[in-house]
């Protein structure tokens, strides 16, 4: 099976959560480069820079919803509005299970919505499956 080698962008403001996600990715033998953006605006600057520079070519975006400055839903809307990132796989990785967040995320065009479990073992399983599915099984348009 061919593995997508491109960079993963993790958008996460909480350093503990970022660290745990990186750890889970490493433990799951997902060897892709991972860049961490600490808020929504930083993620947008990386993926669709406004100064004409080449944006990051990512395999996958793991996006938290509650972020400082620009929240996850707004990031998602901007990615979908941009020609270059409108088909980029975006997975919401968040704490909330409120219906409103789920509906808003899917309406704004997320590809998947995963709630971070408290238990790290369960979290590891989730991250492993994300990697297996989105980097190996799923065919993404170039």
């Amino acid at each position: 099976v061919e593995v997508n080698q491109k960079t993963i962008l993790l958008v996460e403001d909480n350093p503990d959560d970022a660290e745990l996600t990186l750890r889970a990715l490493k433990k799951s033998k997902i060897l892709n480069d991972v860049i961490v953006a600490h808020d929504g605006a930083e993620a947008i600057d990386l993926l669709v820079p406004s100064d004409g520079k080449q944006g990051l070519d990512a395999a996958l975006v793991l996006l938290d919803l509650k972020l400082p400055r620009m929240d996850g839903i707004e990031v998602l809307r901007r990615l979908r509005a941009n020609e270059r990132t409108r088909l980029l796989p975006v997975i919401i990785l968040t704490t909330s299970r409120e219906q409103e967040d789920l509906v808003n995320s899917y309406c704004s065009g997320c590809n998947s919505y995963i709630r971070k479990p408290v238990d790290f073992v369960e979290f590891m399983t989730a991250v492993q499956q994300i990697g297996l599915y989105w980097l190996m099984l799923n065919e993404a348009p170039i």
Partner: protein
């Protein structure tokens, strides 16, 4: 009139009295007034000197007034019929209707007497109108304080509704931040304790490893408690849609799901056929899941486990019940049964967060019903609920 008659019956007596006099006057009038249909007078059109424009101005105006009065009375009658129960002072609206129709007929007679000078008949109808008018005029003032009181009450209830909506929005924001912000530190506690366990496996002695496992378990447990608390608050704020619900069918599905979680267990479900009620389907599903789930859990160690759903007469009212022959509980703690986080058993014997019955009670109360239980230690429990 008796001294202790209520104000209501007093005013009713007065109304009957006035009505009686009016009816007597109406019936007696033709006897007193000679030649009611006599028309040996000059028709009204004669007074208008046959001026076609003046006559048509009177005819058109009087006809329009008459028709409008009939239409207004018709609307009032329709309103009273539609809002049978909610409508206060129904009789007042009917009196208004009679008053308006009577007024309408005086205008109708104005048209008739233009050509047919039945002035006595016209006067007779005017007397009836006068009586209806006087009665309405007399009956209206005593209502003023009552109407003012009602307006005040409805204003107050609107205020309360606004306050309630505001506090619901606050609760919404609160539970959102609970669900999001309280879980993040728990993930860190659980995750980094797990990291120490894995990375330091060589250096840690068995006791330290066991202690770290306790840390991870406690954080996970608190995550579950937060989730259950959120479920409880969701049952309180979700919108209710009342519809007919087939409890038998719902319980059969839940029983099948429970059986699938423990295929090795020998537990019999007896679900009475044809149990139906009216309520919110989603909430009742949660309530039944909790009650049957509890019965399933607390019969886990019972031989010959039996779980039953049915309906019974309790204190003269019919109540649904969920009965099991499991662990039961001591009735002296029954008052604590429905409080959040209250448990009757230790976590090793029967795991749980103690939020299930609190959720069920909230759901039953939101339906305007009540829930209670009968039980004995090791002799099972029966939960009754009436909607």
């Amino acid at each position: 009139l008796s001294g202790n008659a209520s104000p209501m019956s007093l005013s009713r007596t007065r109304r009957l009295f006035i009505g009686g006099i009016a009816a007597a006057a109406v019936l007696a009038a033709p006897l007193v007034i000679p030649g009611i249909f006599s028309s040996q007078f000059l028709p009204h059109a004669f007074c208008y000197t046959g001026d076609a424009r003046l006559i048509s101005a009177h005819v058109i105006s009087d006809a329009l007034i008459w028709l409008s009065y009939v239409a207004i009375a018709g609307t009032l009658v329709y309103l009273v019929r539609q809002l049978k129960k909610e409508m206060p002072f129904q009789w007042m609206f009917i009196a208004f209707g009679v008053f308006i129709i009577a007024c309408g007929f005086t205008h109708f007679m104005e048209i008739v007497t233009l050509w047919k000078p039945v002035y006595w008949l016209s006067a007779y109808l005017k007397i009836i109108t006068a009586l209806a008018s006087v009665m309405t005029a007399l009956a209206l003032p005593p209502l003023v304080p009552k109407i003012r009181e009602m307006a005040k009450t409805s204003l107050r209830s609107r205020e309360v509704q606004n306050e309630l909506a505001a506090s619901n929005r606050e609760l919404e924001a609160f539970s959102y931040s609970v669900s999001h912000d309280l879980r993040a530190p728990l993930r860190a506690i659980n995750g980094f304790a797990r990291a120490v366990l894995e990375d330091g496996a060589q250096q840690l002695d068995e006791q330290s490893k066991a202690d770290l496992l306790r840390v991870t378990a406690a954080a996970k447990r608190m995550g579950e408690l937060i989730d259950d608390l959120l479920k409880l608050s969701r049952t309180a704020r979700s919108e209710m849609v009342r519809e007919p619900v087939d409890l038998t069918c719902m319980a059969q599905e839940i029983a099948a799901q429970l059986k699938a979680t423990g295929p090795e267990r020998d537990t019999s479900f007896t679900i009475a056929p044809g149990l139906t009620t009216v309520g919110d389907r989603g909430l009742l599903q949660v309530a039944l899941e909790n009650l049957l789930g509890n019965a399933w859990k607390f019969t886990g160690k019972a031989a010959n486990a039996k779980i039953e759903l049915g309906v019974e007469q309790q204190d003269g009212h019919s109540a649904f019940f969920v009965r099991d022959n499991g662990a039961g509980f001591d009735m002296q703690y029954a008052t604590k049964l429905f409080a959040p986080f209250q448990r009757m058993h230790d976590d090793d014997s029967f795991p749980g967060t103690g939020i299930g019955l609190a959720t069920v009670q909230r759901i039953i109360r939101r339906h305007g019903g009540s829930i209670w239980a009968k039980a004995a230690v090791d002799r099972g429990a029966t939960f009754y609920f009436a909607l």
